[in-house]
Symmetry: C2
Subunit: 307 residues, 2 copies
């Protein structure tokens, strides 16, 4: 693999930023990695882990001379960051991001950018429930999809270079509009997280059932929800504040459907329940067939290898 | 380990029945296993897998001479089964079950039973999203909790024998009332399943987002829900029909909480979102500390061992 970029700047060194650092190193994607993190503690940890060749106290310093700049912090920080780095961006540089919403990112970042910088929003559909510079690993992006949402006037050769970057990280790349991205992710990611956070909160507030009972008997299904509900609160606050319309639309549909299920339970409509429950296995099978989840029962937890 | 029971009868040979068969064999818990399954196909498969020493076409034949009889079919079948096996139950036998609801099981089973049979309802909090006689494995119950809900007049020595049975299978045992069980499981298991089935259904019905997009980008969180939504539809229909009150109560609280979250998103109340999202990590940590889930990020899917 030849080096696609001379210098890459990672703005934000949490789970995604640090995973990119590992992947870029392992796969020799760039000659030099410069890194920026807002907090002193993260910068120190990142230095200790040798995540970057140079670590900077200012984002502007980190992006100077970089051919590729990747925003890897919560999307709520992008506007101020873009404003801060704009004067330091090299002409011809590619600026991208990894944020979970895309229309709001275009709205916040684009107005600050100088001519001659190619801004191509992006979103790798990859992550774990962990966060921070020590949570990253090079394999995070392998066999995951990365969505790019280039604007209509994007430079095709810059898009091509960014596609290759993500392929070099092990991902498949798909191109769509920011608006369609936000709708797709509202159902495949944002609503699942919202529901998971919500049920954990509902369970914690019960009076008749203690927290210790919820924890003891969580293997009945609840534990699965606690994993995604352990994701980074700042990141997810910013997602919901910045994809309001699509999330509210999906939430409206979800609540309507849930009311219909509630009614079926109240009236004892077993056929309705059975038919709805029977539809779901096919989608699970397709997700496994598409390589997007493990076929092992219980995600492989506590199940012998021979199963 | 000495054999606790001479003959155990397994009524139903799906995931739980077949797992019990494997566990009883492997841990030498009983001298003889007799099995019953409603369908010819399951009986044939069970015979092929040698799940039982004798396999019967009638449940009454299977329970004859058994010291321990375990109902392992969907809870909707228990009333008719109890009626059918009652005349064949051996005096002094213990009758138990593995159903996910308990008050309805007492209601359906108890009226049919003869004097001299100890009925002790039970529920192992263990399972996978798979079903059928080939899905079982001996380790399913290890480190899981099994809840017993003996009636006030239960014979203590019978309860003690059943406690030992589940401990021999690798489980921890807790005793509570059927009503409290149904409330606890409504939040830790029934509501999570209902929500998972519901979001998969909502996603499948969208017009603007295709099923293939939902599948491709499911690693954003959605895939986790599809696992429990792939559980057995008959079993889950029967759970919701038989734990109506507790499920409706939990569902009401969940929906109220979700409306508050929806309002916070609509009005851009970032502090409310952040505070609610921040509460969840502690519960996840407690579940891992209690040995009820893996600490590996992403349940260990696609994460290198060194992480």
């Amino acid at each position: 693999m030849t080096e696609n970029f001379e210098r890459v700047a990672l703005i934000g060194l949490g789970l995604i930023g640090s995973s990119l650092a590992h992947a870029i190193r392992q796969r020799k994607i760039a000659g030099h990695i410069s890194g920026y993190a807002r907090s002193e503690a993260t910068r120190r940890k990142a230095a200790e882990l040798k995540l970057a060749d140079s670590i900077h106290q200012s984002a502007a310093d980190a992006v100077r001379d970089a051919d590729l700049v990747i925003l890897c912090s919560p999307v709520g920080t992008y506007g101020a960051l873009a404003q801060g780095i704009a004067p330091a961006l090299k002409p011809g540089a590619i600026l991208t991001d990894v944020g979970s919403v895309k229309a709001a990112v275009v709205r916040d970042v684009l107005p600050h950018l100088p001519q001659g910088v190619s801004f191509i929003p992006g979103h790798p559909i990859a992550g774990t429930e962990q966060s921070g510079p020590e949570s990253g690993f090079a394999e995070l992006f392998i066999n995951r999809w990365c969505i790019l949402t280039p604007l209509p006037d994007a430079d095709p050769s810059a898009v091509e270079k960014l596609v290759k970057f993500w392929q070099d990280c092990g991902s498949n790349v798909e191109i769509m509009t920011p608006e369609h991205h936000d709708l797709v992710l509202a159902i495949t990611s944002h609503l699942p997280h919202l529901i998971a956070y919500n049920i954990v909160s509902t369970a914690a507030d019960l009076e008749e059932v203690t927290d210790s009972e919820v924890i003891k008997y969580s293997a009945g299904g609840f534990r699965d929800f606690t994993r995604i509900a352990a994701s980074d609160p700042t990141m997810w606050r910013d997602v919901f504040l910045n994809n309001k319309e699509a999330v509210l639309e999906m939430l409206g549909r979800f609540s309507e459907d849930l009311s219909a299920l509630q009614r079926a339970i109240r009236w004892g409509d077993g056929d309705m329940l059975f038919n709805l429950f029977s539809r779901s296995r096919e989608i699970r099978r397709s997700i496994i067939a598409a390589g997007q989840d493990t076929a092992a029962p219980n995600f492989g937890r506590g199940v012998p290898k021979t199963q």
